[in-house]
Structures are given as structure tokens and as C-alpha cells.
């Protein structure tokens, strides 16, 4: 298995380098730069000020020099560079924001799985029942509703009108010390963004689980098991589910980097400080090295979760071997 993993990692290195060149070129081609933004805010900046800042930030260098300098620093020192906007190392900036995003994406992910898998099974087993229709309707709502709109709707109903949870933020300013106090305080703030971010993946997985389950329970070996008098619970959870869940694993694993994209909007609506907001700010403020680093993190995540999906697939399905 280790040979397989190492071979896969070796294969993705050139892919990651190509992604980095393409992303660097695209960000470079974006109109505007941080100095032009400063100039719009303060028209009294002199030509010398502008030239001086371009020199200090290396913006007077050609594209390939800047790329090679950036890549060289990553490979030799693990240094992602300095944020032009915040004037701190990019690693510091990312470390500061990643924890909250991990909580958000992690909790959304768990919520989505916990809801989607059982409901998908239920819908398949009770096909065309009232419950199945309800969850089908729910899934279509989840698919089609934009994150921003749903976030605002939830805020309006549960935070503004009912006052059950705070309107925005990620924790109270002052909390009584203690693990559980802090845990529940964070939970109050996390609950709405978690639902908002999780709802579309929840809807997708629910439908996928339903359809794969429907396929499996019509297979001959299920019919045989039933004919042999195997208990229905064992048929469903041991025989059917294990086979039905296989394609869902790939879908779920690849959804994590996608969730990261959804976090950009969700974090903005709920004033939740995380990587999504950091990425958005980096883009609009032309903070190239921060944006580049986050793109590369997402690229690496896609690669890792692809690999994880393959490994898990083989683990769940004994027919698959690492060759």
C-alpha cells in the first residue's frame, strides 16, 4: 500500500507545479494591484512613494522572477512569503484563520453525513412514501438555495426574530471560563453557519445515497439473503449499505475542498473569521501571495482527499487492491 501511496504522491507533484504556475499567472493577470488601491484611497501619494512601494514589494520585478522567488522560498525554507496587505508572514496569517475554518467545515461535514446517510437509506427503503417525497423536496431546496440567501434567512428567523442564537461572530466577547462554557458558547455561534454550509452537500449525499441504495437492494444477492431468511437489519446494514456506500465515499471525500469554497460566502454572512474570508480579502486586495498559498492549500487538499478516497474505497471494498 505504501508503494501505491508514494507512487500517487510522485504523480501529483508535476500537477501541483502546473497548478501553481497557472494560478500565479492568473492572479498576475488580474487587473489592478495593491499600490493602485492605495493611490485611489490617498491621491496625495507622490510618484516617489509609488515607486518606492513597488520596489519594496517586488512589484517592479517581472512575472517569472517573482514566481521563481516565491517557489524557491517555499522549496528551500518552507516560506510562503509575506502578505502585502497585513505585512506578516503568510504562514502566520493562515495559522491564525485555519482553526475556525476546520471547525466550520468539520462540523458541517459531520452534520451532513449524519443527516444524509440515514435519510438516504430511509428514502430508498420507503420509496414513494410521504417521507420520501418530503426529503426529496428538501434535497431540491438544499441544492438550489444559494448559501448567501439561506444564511441571511436563517439569521433573520433564528437570530434576529427569535433571538435563539447570536447574529454573527464566532464566540462571545466574555465567557465564563471552563471547557463546557466555552464549548457551548462556540456552538451557539457555529450552529447556523454549519447548517448553511452543510445543506447543499447534505442534499447531494442524501440523493446519492438513496439512488445507490435503491440499486443495491434490487441486486440478486439481497434477494437471496432475504430468501434465506436473513434478518432485514442485517441485510440492510451489513450487505446493502456496505455496497451502497462505496460511490458515496468518493463523493464525500471530494466534497471537502468544495466546502472550502462555500465557506467564503458563509463566513462573510455570519461574520465568522476563517480561511474563506481571508481568501476573499486576499483576492479583492490583490494580496497575491496569500491568495496563491490558499489556492495551493486547496489544490493539495483535492489531491489528499482523492488519495484518501481511493484508500478508503479499497478498505471498504475488499475486491479492490492497491496495484
Amino acid at each position: 500500500m505504501w508503494v501505491y501511496i508514494i507512487r500517487r504522491i510522485m504523480q501529483v507533484i508535476p500537477v501541483l507545479i502546473l497548478i501553481s504556475i497557472a494560478s500565479f499567472a492568473l492572479l498576475n493577470a488580474m487587473p489592478g494591484d495593491p499600490i493602485a488601491d492605495l493611490l485611489m484611497a490617498d491621491p496625495e501619494m507622490s510618484e516617489e512613494d509609488v515607486a518606492n512601494l513597488r520596489r519594496i514589494y517586488g512589484l517592479d520585478q517581472p512575472f517569472h522572477t517573482r514566481y521563481l522567488r516565491w517557489m524557491g522560498a517555499i522549496l528551500t525554507q518552507g516560506d510562503l512569503g509575506m502578505s502585502q496587505q497585513y505585512k506578516v508572514p503568510v504562514t502566520t496569517l493562515i495559522a491564525r484563520n485555519i482553526e475556525n475554518t476546520v471547525y466550520l467545515i468539520g462540523s458541517s461535514f459531520i452534520l451532513s453525513i449524519l443527516v444524509a446517510i440515514p435519510i438516504g437509506i430511509f428514502s430508498a427503503l420507503r420509496q414513494y412514501s410521504l417521507g420520501d417525497y418530503f426529503w426529496t423536496g428538501f434535497a431540491f431546496f438544499g441544492f438550489s438555495v444559494p448559501n448567501h440567501w439561506l444564511g441571511l434567512l436563517l439569521l433573520f428567523v433564528f437570530a434576529f426574530q427569535l433571538g435563539w442564537v447570536p447574529i454573527g461572530g464566532f464566540r462571545s466577547i466574555r465567557v465564563e471560563p471552563g471547557f463546557w462554557n466555552e464549548f457551548f458558547d462556540r456552538l451557539r455561534y457555529l450552529i447556523l453557519p454549519m447548517i448553511t454550509l452543510g445543506i447543499s452537500s447534505m442534499a447531494g449525499w442524501m440523493r446519492y445515497m438513496r439512488s445507490t441504495m435503491l440499486e443495491v437492494i434490487r441486486e440478486d444477492y439481497i434477494r437471496t439473503a432475504r430468501a434465506k431468511g436473513v434478518a432485514e437489519r442485517i441485510i440492510i446494514y451489513k450487505h446493502a449499505l456496505r455496497n451502497a456506500v462505496l460511490p458515496v465515499i468518493t463523493l464525500v471525500m471530494l466534497a471537502i475542498p468544495v466546502m472550502f469554497g462555500g465557506a467564503v460566502i458563509t463566513e462573510a454572512v455570519f461574520v465568522y473569521p476563517g480561511m474563506g474570508r481571508l481568501f476573499w480579502h486576499a483576492l479583492i486586495n490583490h494580496d497575491q501571495l496569500v491568495a496563491m498559498s490558499i489556492i495551493m492549500i486547496i489544490a493539495v487538499m483535492v489531491v489528499i482527499f482523492n488519495l484518501l478516497a481511493d484508500i478508503l474505497y479499497a478498505w471498504v471494498d475488499p475486491r479492490i487492491r492497491y496495484d
Binding site: F156, I167, S172, F184
Partner: protein, 553 residues
Amino acid sequence: MQRKLILLVLILALAFGTGIAGAQEKILELAMQQEPDAFGSMFSMVAATQVEAMVKPGLLYRDADWDMHPNIAVYRPSIDEGTWEVDEEEETMVVHWQLRDDVYWHDGEQVTTADYVLGYNVHMHPDYPAVSKTVAGYIEEIEVINDFEMKFHFNQLYPFADIVTGFDPLPTHVFQDYYDNDNIEGLIESDYWRTGFFGAGPYKIEEWVAGSHIELVANEDYHLGAPNIDVIVVRFVEDTETLRFMIEGGDVQASIGPTLPFDTSIALQRSVDPEEIHVEFYEATTWEHIDLNNRDFAPFDDDRVRRALMHATDRQEIMETVFEGVMGPAHTFQTEVHPLFSEEAADLITTYEYNPERAEALLAAAGFARDADGIMTHQETGDKMILDFRTTAGDATREMVQQIIAQQWAEVGIQVDINNMTAGALFDPPHFYRREWPHMIMFAWSSFPTSLPNTLWHKDNIPRPENNWEGQNVAGWYNEEASEIIDEMMNEMDPDRRRDLNTSLLQLWTYEIPSLPLFFRVDAAFWQTNVTGIQPTGSADPDTWNVHEWDIE
């Protein structure tokens, strides 16, 4: 089952019952739509100045009436009182500053002239990325007299030397070693500019949670008096609707600029009880206007055409429609509350009332007549008044103004083709400064009470290949007389004479009308009626100038 239910209820009660501790303290939650990147002269953000003024005030501060008062300084230097010496022949100046002797950094060290010398030296270091070194660059040397007195020697005349220093002091006990060892990189990367930022102001930074809030606690030893409010939590809420919910729902007790845009603010004003939430509208110094490309479209070089465009624009209707008549239209590039603007100027400048007949007559005088398609066409050159009109896509206010103008101009035979772009694309230097926009762009310039018109209107500041496309005279106004007036203003130390020169400039400008002035942006601020003392300045100076006097009743 019942036990499980009770346990669930208990957990939920715990979960949603945890609240804020320390209820005895006076805590103000204040929202802004922007989060500072950091503090100090490497950064330029409205949000940063609002917080910075609470933590690290300057030598002087500007109040809501735009008057200057001493803060860390004992007095404001004055030519009359001999604390500001001007040598007009040599074109040099000496400005005497005296610091209060009861000012302490938040870590307990006294603020002295050495901190100013260090601040100046760091600011002028070639590797220090200050946003602007222009004004500090006029200072040749800081002469230290003692711990509390110093003289700034200027190598040229500068009319605002009594107000602006162009740099900030830095605590020598923190940074002197960095400077002495030429460790500018270490200084730039220091936490001082962010979470470790401190000054000698009424509030100290207790905690900065990036992307969420800054918690400030009162500095009981503040030299202008201990603050009334114990804790101010500045929350950063970018999403307009979320911020509106927070203000309306009482999650924050106040919000100052940058805050809700005008349309949301007016909607909020209608929906809240004025007994509970006060909404303050005030004219800002951000000047919205249309620049014309007179280089590539010859008719714009004819001032009759530019005047015709002004007469074809019902700016009062724009203000009524977009801003509900809260403010009137702009007649010049300078707000009437600007220190340079005089009552005399208001009488002498040319103003343009809405008069489509007059617009058509002026276009006719410039050689235009309606073609068969109804579009004004130049009878000799064939230039048609089909104008490409660009602004920042997604800016609801600008897009609405653009639509109204398009309708109004259609009446006089001018067709407007709207071709909006993202802010990044519109202000991308090759597009913006090289005037790759064929006819017109609508945007805003920020200005300050100390802004002089040289950057925007001097002929030398027209971006062109010879100056590497630098300069902010994007309207391309080339007027020898105006440039001479501006040169004189730059070296004129007498405020009255400077105001007279400004009046002459405005007369010329409004007659030639190189840009089409629309309005000064209307900003808003909100606070619950039990919060007292907030007085927005509208001058781009921080609204937190008197934060130690704010209170919660």
C-alpha cells in the same frame, strides 16, 4: 426516556444560556464594515484610523467642526505666536512643538521627543514601506531641545506644517535597537503593528481576534481624562444585511464609518424607532464625478460641450431620487465645508442649473445638430454623441446615477452606452491612468481638510508617457493659469490669501468644468439613543476623536 429528555433540556439550556460575564462594566459594542489590516503609517484604511485614534492619538486632533485642538502637544504651532518660523526667501521653515509632560505609553514609559525622532528616522528609512513619505520628506531634520521640546526644520514651504507631520512617533524602548541594528525587516514584522499595538490614547488593545473583533479597555490614566466607557468592542461585519440585523436587533449599540451604504441606512432609518436608534447622515469629502477623455474624443476639449453636459444633467433630481434630498449636488471638486472654501467662492463660481434647452443651444454652438437618428452629430467632423460610460460594476448608487443620467441626456440627443467594469479593472493603472476608457468614467476621489488641488488639477500631473503615466489629473485639465495659482497656493502660508487663491482657481475650474461634479457622498452613523457623545467628523478624520467622552446612560 424521560431521563434522556431532561438531560437534553439541560444541555440545551447550558448551550444557549451561556452569556457575557462582567455585566457591571459599561461595554459598548461598535460595528464597522471593514477590519484594519494593521496600524501605523504602512497602512491606509478608514477603519484603522477609527481604532488608531482611540489607541494612539496624534499631537493634535480635529473635532466635528473641523477645528484643531492639542492632544499630546501643548499647543498648535502658530506664525503669529512665533512657534512657526517661515523664511520665504530661503523657502525654509522651523516648526516648534512642545509635548505634554504627563503623557505615557500604555506600557508605562513616558512619551518624549526621542520617540518622535525615532518615528521620523524609521519612516524615512528606504526599506520602510510607508504609504506616503511626501510630507515627512519636507522635514530635513528634527532638532531636539529637551525631552518635551523639539523643532522640525523644513527644507521647503508647506502650508499645513502646523497640523501634519507625515509620520508617527515610535516607542524608543521597543524599537530603538531595531533601528540602531538596521533591522527594519524585524521592525516591520513586529507584532507592534497588529495585536501588540499600543499608544498613549484613551483605550488599550486587550485582544484582537482577526476577522472578528478588537476589544479595547479604558486607559484610566489618559492625559485628557479617564474614559466613561470601560470596554469598547469593535466588531467587523462586512455583510451589509448582517450588519443591518445587528444594528436593528441591538447586537451592536453603535456603528460608525465604514458602515452601511446610504440605501440600506435610509431603509433602516424607516424601520427603527427613533426613540431607540439614532441615524445620523452627514456629507463626506468623497467626491463623485465624471471624468471626460478629452484626449481621444475631441468634442470634450470644447468647454461648450462640457457645459452642455452639465446643463443636460438634473443633479437635483439625482439627489432626490438616490439620496432622498438629504444633501444637495456638488458644484466643484471641493466640499463647501473645506477650510479653503469661502463664502465669496460660493458667490463667484459658475453653477449649472438643469436646462436642456440651454444644453442643446451650447451643443449647436459647438457645431452639433441632431442627425436623422436623433443623435447629436458634429456637422464637420461627424463625431457622434454616442458615449461609452464606465463605472464600478455592482456599486448600486453609481449604477442608479448612471441610469438617470443616461435618461436625461437622451432628451438632448446624447446616447449613453453603459459599459461597467469591476473596480479592479476600472482602476487598473493601464486602463485608468492611460485613459483607455474612450469617453467617460464615474468614480470618486477622497480628500482631506489638508488637501491642496495640486495632485488633481496641476498640468504637470496629467498622466502621460513623459511622466510614466503617473499623476492624478486624470481629467487631463491643462490650464496654465490654474497651474500657476496652484503653485502659488502650495507656497502660501497665509490662510486668508490661500483661500483667495483657491477662489480664483474654483472660478476658473467651474467655468471650464474639466470634470462633471455630481455630489459628495453621504455617509451614515448609527447609535442607540442611550449612547452619548458620538460626533462624526465627515472630514476623513476619525469619528473617535472624542471617544473618552462617549458614554452609555
